[in-house]
Amino acid sequence: MRRVPWVALSVLALALGIRLAAFLAPLSNLMPGCAFKRLTGFACVTCGLTRSVLALGQGQWYEAIYWYPAMAFLLVLAPLAALWDVRRAWRGDAYLPLPTSRAVRFGVWILLGGIWALQVMRGI
């Protein structure tokens, strides 16, 4: 099982899914919008993600990052993670455990909260 690049395969599946999602773009204006935002008046933590994915599927990189700035992280990290995973599988190494550092975990929470705050402030 160590020889299977699971992360790289997941990235590939994700890329394929995003490309296929572009075919739904012509229907995007008919979408009723986020139920959370409609209910509370504030953007939810993933508000803008659908529009970002649709834009990305059409190759509109700038729009994709505009609608969901965290997409920039994904665009940079996903190919790097896939390459690292192919190398790991090629060498037959085990997957590294997730970092135990409290600072890293705290950083991810701040990132998630920050993305949410940013989307709320921008009124996305």
């Binding site: 979408m31 919008g33 986020c34 139920a35 939810c44 993933t46 993600l49 455990p97 997730l98 975990r105």
Partner: protein, 231 residues
């Protein structure tokens, strides 16, 4: 005469009532945990999917005949005439005989996908809450999820009662509450197998729900969007 699977059923019920003691034994190997989960869950999920599809085909056929209900006209916001025209041009539903063989393929794949999906997101949630230990990796989460989902399949069994005419509407709220509990129940398996406090396991499933809840709303929105499309 003993009732088949009664011992297993009793053990599952005991686990659901006392989740903090349910995973005290040594964990099984991954293959055995997965096999046991599929052995219990696949037949129940097949029955559930078969009944759901059968009901859906019936409802679809009736909709084609009677046109859109008023609530759908209001909800979709589409022009009623256009909606009527859309319903008139809908293709006839396929016969159930032609659909069910596909379920034999789709349901097991769907269950495996659900298992991996829960494992990935619960593992991430547990990591975010500091519940992961160095010596326990993703494989431990896969085992814990398989064990928990085998027991939680009891919910699918209870859900079949909702197909009894007249009971479905009555059981809606209790079944939603049961679903909610079964969602959190996975957290006890996670906590036991990773050796962390139960609240962290349960909270990991809650983090998973919060992070993905909005995506589920997105899916609902996509379905509504399809309803709103008129020629």
């Amino acid at each position: 005469m003993p009732i088949p699977f009664s011992a297993s059923l009793r053990a599952s019920l005991r686990a659901l009532v006392r989740p903090s003691r349910a995973f005290a034994d040594a964990p099984p190997p991954l293959g055995r945990a997965l096999g046991r989960m599929l052995a219990v869950w696949v037949p129940l999920a097949l029955a559930n999917a078969g009944l759901t599809v059968w009901r859906a085909l019936q409802a679809y056929g009736q909709l084609r005949q009677s046109g859109p209900p008023r609530w759908l006209e209001r909800l979709s916001g589409a022009d009623p005439e256009a909606l009527w025209e859309l319903f008139r041009t809908l293709p006839a539903p396929p016969a159930f005989d032609r659909v069910w063989p596909w379920l034999l393929l789709v349901v097991p794949i769907g269950l495996l996908g659900t298992w991996i999906h829960h494992a990935v997101w619960d593992h991430t949630g547990l990591w975010l809450l500091g519940g992961l230990k160095q010596k326990h990796g993703f494989r431990t989460t896969l085992v814990a999820e398989a064990e928990a989902l085998r027991i939680a399949a009891l919910g699918t069994l209870v859900g079949l009662v909702g197909f009894v005419p007249g009971l479905g509407a009555l059981l809606t709220l209790p079944l939603i509450l049961l679903d909610g509990y079964l969602w959190l129940f996975r957290g006890f398996a996670l906590a036991a197998r990773h050796g962390c406090e139960p609240w962290k396991g349960v909270a990991a499933t809650a983090v998973h729900a919060v992070l993905l809840g909005t995506c589920a709303l997105g899916l609902t929105a996509m379905m509504l969007m399809l309803v709103r499309v008129a020629p």
